[in-house]
């Protein structure tokens, strides 16, 4: 699913992302369960680059998944790729090919907490 961005001369991949309900509402995306957003992400595909692309496309999500300043993942959100918890992996670690290539989505999941 790779595409070549001729202006940049770098290859981009089409990555699928599933966001928590409240962030889909905030960004004006479909609120159907499991709905996805598709993003073109420059190779190598990492969580950091996926979030960069997400925030570039939906600026209202800035600061909602990772904190401004530190860039840290918000404590009550977690990342899952191919059934694995990626929440504590380095943000610049390359994601599995299945996610980078769009076969599997990257899941951003809200903790089940609160009242």
């Amino acid at each position: 699913m790779g595409t070549v961005n001729s202006e940049q001369g770098t290859e981009t991949r089409l990555v699928r992302v599933v966001l928590p309900y409240h962030l889909r509402v905030l960004a004006g995306l479909s609120t159907e369960a499991g709905s996805e957003v598709a993003l073109e992400v420059a190779r190598p595909v990492t969580i950091e680059r996926v979030l960069d692309a997400l925030e570039a496309k939906h600026s209202v999500l800035g600061g909602t998944i990772r904190e401004y300043g530190t860039g840290k993942r918000r404590a009550f959100l977690r990342f899952f790729a191919c059934g694995e918890d990626w929440s504590h992996e380095a943000m610049d670690k390359e994601l599995p090919e299945a996610v980078a290539g769009g076969a599997e989505p990257l899941l951003v999941v809200g903790a089940i907490a609160g009242g």
């Binding site: 309900y21 409240h22 905030l26 600061g63 401004y68 009550f76 809200g110």
Partner: protein
């Protein structure tokens, strides 16, 4: 003036309640931002169609919203609140130094003269200002000791039970350089130069939980109110004690008088009578609900000390709600209306200065804030 718009922030969204000047029939709009905590919603006194809202959640942090049509539609504006320079430390609950960390916006105070300018009081306590309608924010860092000649003793500030929040911002209509803020649990502060330099204004406050009960900072101020016609006079609901200052906060005296308990969170002032003030007494710091299960507002027409119970229309028994610090407001109609919200989801309104009350709504999520626009 022909009507009122009540802006309600709750634990699960915002609501806009509208009525004509009779304040008998209400239209309820919302929830806006459903599922998010809405700490505060407030309109610009310059342009009542311009309304700012603070939206936050424990999952996704802070979002700021703005309406330019009186709350019908909303758009996300800037949510980047970066402390100026090195954030520094304040005291943690156990007395150890703890770095300043932004958590949320507690209070929004639109400018009295410019609809594009708005101030934000945040947790961990700091004051921010936007001059572009909320798109960008800059800290007025003099408050935290970054000003020339400022010594607000910020490293000694400590969070209250609800966090270290800057929850009150008061702009002086007679002097645009003067502003008051209050922080739990640091106290009240004043600037006379537009926010560059600040000083603590806590002389006369006594807080028994502090190592030094009369210390310059560390007081758990819950809310402060000022009548625009008397900008030198301030009324304060402290953790315990209702206080009054007649010299812009330089000195305070206790005016709890005959209140059955002087613990509480809200305090507000009649729109046309600067000596008429309202509080909602809460049993104690250990039991955050009304005395004896009876919800009552108390009114003083003498600027404190002499208080009368207002209970007509309010629950007479089995009521165990709280009234949080930003959850009382007044309108400016000829017969002043008074409004307050509860953690039980009721918003009560009085169209006769507190004599009688009706619930506009009964079953909202816990109410965090109530503001009124007189249209």
């Amino acid at each position: 003036m022909s009507g009122v718009r009540v802006l309600v922030g709750t634990k699960k969204g915002a609501f806009v309640l509208e009525s004509d000047g009779k304040r008998a029939a209400w239209e309820v709009k919302g929830p806006f931002f459903a599922g998010w905590e809405i700490y505060h919603v407030k309109g610009s006194p310059v342009n009542p169609d311009r309304i700012y809202a603070s939206q936050s959640s424990g999952w996704s942090g802070q979002v700021m919203q703005r309406s330019d049509d009186g709350g019908k539609t909303w758009a996300v504006v800037g949510n980047k609140f970066a402390y100026d320079g090195v954030p520094g430390t304040h005291q943690w609950y156990d007395g150890t130094p703890h770095p300043w960390e932004f958590k949320r916006v507690w209070h929004l105070e639109p400018s009295l003269t410019d609809a594009e300018t708005v101030f934000a009081g945040v947790e961990d306590a700091a004051l921010f200002k936007s001059t572009d309608g909320g798109a960008t924010w800059a800290e007025l860092s003099g408050l935290r000791g970054h000003g020339v000649g400022t010594d607000t003793l910020a490293p000694q500030w400590q969070p209250g039970a609800g966090g270290m929040c800057l929850h009150t911002i008061i702009l002086d209509p007679s002097n645009e350089e003067r502003m008051y803020i209050a922080i739990s649990a640091a106290g009240a502060f004043r600037t006379d130069d537009g926010g560059k330099n600040w000083k603590p204004i806590n002389k006369g406050l006594v807080s028994d939980f502090m190592p030094n009960p009369t210390g310059e900072v560390g007081h758990c101020v819950h809310h402060v109110a000022m009548h625009p016609a008397r900008p030198e006079t301030l009324f304060m609901q402290k953790h315990w004690h209702v206080m009054r200052s007649d010299n812009a906060g330089d000195e305070w005296k206790k005016v709890s008088g005959n209140l059955p308990t002087d613990f509480g969170f809200v305090i507000d002032i009649h729109a046309h009578e600067p000596e008429t003030i309202f509080v909602a007494p809460i049993k104690s710091d250990a039991e955050h609900f009304p005395l004896d299960g009876r919800l009552r507002v108390y009114r003083s027409k003498t600027g404190g000390n002499e208080w009368e119970e207002l209970s007509k229309g309010l629950p007479e028994k089995d009521c165990y709600v709280n009234v949080l610090r930003d959850a009382m407001s007044v309108d400016r109609l000829d017969e002043c209306g008074v409004y307050f919200g509860t953690t039980g989801g009721q918003v009560y309104a009085s169209a006769d200065g507190g004599e009688s009350w009706n619930a506009i709504v009964h079953d909202l999520p816990a109410v965090l804030s109530v503001e009124v626009q007189t249209l």
